[in-house]
């Protein structure tokens, strides 16, 4: 990282810390640092505290592995939710997306990643053992595999399907087809094929 040698050491240090963040290049890192330099003391303190508090208070829910500040998390502790449905997702952010739909009232399980053989990520690096452990309880009737519809997501779903089917639970996969507002003409063959396969009666 090329920081002007004239910069004071604490400034350089902060620039370097910002630079480590995803999506932050050397120029953005400098800009953020110099912004904070001029910002009021309280603003800098609030940011520092927010970061520390997040790191100290947030843990993983011991049941669903989602990020949470209490264990079990709000979703797992909610008795209104259907414990017989379990939706398996790649990342905590996927839960937010699914919750936004307000169409799902079951529980979740976060894998924290996806099988990616080329990057050396195998099932042992994901929360698969925790998932199997959860299913031993016997209350789950259906597992919905909601990994992304890309190659790695499919591989992960296939792998989990293979592992879960012998357990006697119903294993389903999110439907795959055309997104609303899309043009048929631009759809790829695989998506179109799935959309045809999953066609439904007009009602």
């Amino acid at each position: 990282m090329d920081v002007p040698p004239s910069a004071a050491a604490p400034v350089v240090r902060l620039i370097e810390e910002f630079h480590k963040l995803p999506g932050v290049g050397p120029k953005s890192a400098q800009r953020l640092t110099y912004y904070l330099l001029r910002a009021p003391q309280e603003e800098a303190r609030a940011l520092a505290q927010a970061i520390l508090e997040m790191k100290e208070k947030i843990t993983f829910c011991s049941i669903c592995q989602n990020v949470t500040d209490r264990d079990p998390c709000l979703i797992c502790a909610n008795s209104e939710r259907d414990p017989s449905l379990l939706c398996v997702v790649e990342e905590p952010l996927d839960i937010l997306a699914l919750e936004r739909t307000r169409s799902y009232n079951g529980l979740y399980h976060v894998l924290h990643g996806v099988i990616s053989p080329m990057d050396g990520v195998g099932p042992e690096h994901l929360k698969v053992a925790e998932l199997l452990e959860r299913l031993k309880g016997g209350s789950v009737q259906e597992v919905i595999l909601a990994t992304n519809p890309n190659l790695e997501g499919e591989a992960t779903a296939m792998y989990l399907g293979r592992l879960l089917r012998p357990l006697g639970v119903r294993v389903t996969r999110l439907a795959r087809g055309l997104p609303s507002g899309a043009d048929l003409e631009y759809a790829d063959d695989l998506t179109l094929t799935r959309a045809l396969e999953g066609r439904q009666e007009m009602d």
């Binding site: 999506g23 053989p117 080329m118 006697g168 063959d189 695989l190």
Partner: protein
């Protein structure tokens, strides 16, 4: 470079990595421009017109616009999606291995029509072949040859005498076979059965049709795989990561599926 500012090429998508908010960098293998990285903007959004045509292991036609650093994909149209590969974990794991191997062997931009054809043929074979592992061994040996690392299987690398029809040694370090007397004390050399040597010669010289007709016992297939993998690791100076997943699937298939419930 005399490549025009906007150009069209066939490509096989080897891998992807996330870029920014919704984009990806795709690694493409092309017949004329070799391996190249390109930016695909917005492909992680569900409504992306490109995303589905740029999945890993897709044979596709792309329009690329030259950029300062990386080129950008402006259009993409699937030629062949190899759908059966995506529906079968065993075939998929082998196809990913094939893509990783080609990726590792290819320096950026090095032109190679033959490697492209080899990869395309390999993916087609993996869709249908009854023995997916033989497809990979053939790919490995052919790729070694095309990259200038063809192992010496005709004569002893050390004393250069023709090999007799007896068990010998394979040494990744010297890049070939050592006769029984030269190989005995050679470091890193492992015993090579006569049948394994014959299979390796066939993989090196024969067409895939010929190779696929050979019925191999599991132990022999394992021996050939072990020698080739040792040599690949030596040449690439690193492990092929996807191999671990193939090994895992094989291991798990050996267990009874009922195991998990107990």
């Amino acid at each position: 470079m005399t490549t025009p500012r906007i150009y069209k090429t066939e490509a096989i998508v080897l891998r992807q990595r996330k870029l920014g908010e919704a984009g990806k960098i795709v690694t493409l293998y092309t017949p004329n421009y070799g391996k190249l990285d390109a930016v695909a903007k917005g492909v992680r959004r569900p409504k992306s017109r490109l995303g589905g045509h740029l999945e890993v292991l897709t044979h596709t036609t792309v329009m690329l616009a030259q950029g300062r650093n990386l080129d950008t994909v402006t259009q993409a149209q699937t030629v062949e999606s190899f759908a059966p590969l995506r529906a079968d974990l065993h075939r998929l794991s082998r196809a990913l291995y094939a893509a990783e191997l080609v990726d590792r062997f290819s320096p950026e931009g090095a032109e190679s029509y033959h490697v492209f054809q080899l990869l395309l043929a390999t993916l087609r074979r993996l869709v249908a072949a009854s023995n997916v592992d033989t497809v990979l061994r053939h790919l490995e040996m052919q790729l070694l040859g095309l990259s200038g690392f063809q192992p010496q299987l005709a004569r002893c690398v050390n004393c250069e005498r023709a090999l007799a029809a007896v068990p010998s040694y394979f040494s990744p370090a010297v890049g070939g076979v050592l006769c029984p007397s030269c190989g005995l004390d050679a470091g890193g050399a492992r015993p090579l059965s006569l049948n394994a040597l014959k299979v390796m010669r066939l993989l090196q010289g024969g067409s895939f049709a010929e190779v696929s007709r050979v019925r191999m016992r599991a132990a022999l297939a394992q021996e050939v795989e072990m020698h080739l993998r040792a040599y690949l690791i030596h040449v690439l100076e690193r492990d092929v990561r996807s191999a671990a997943f193939i090994d895992r699937l094989r291991r798990e298939d050996l267990w009874e599926p009922a195991r998990v419930s107990s």
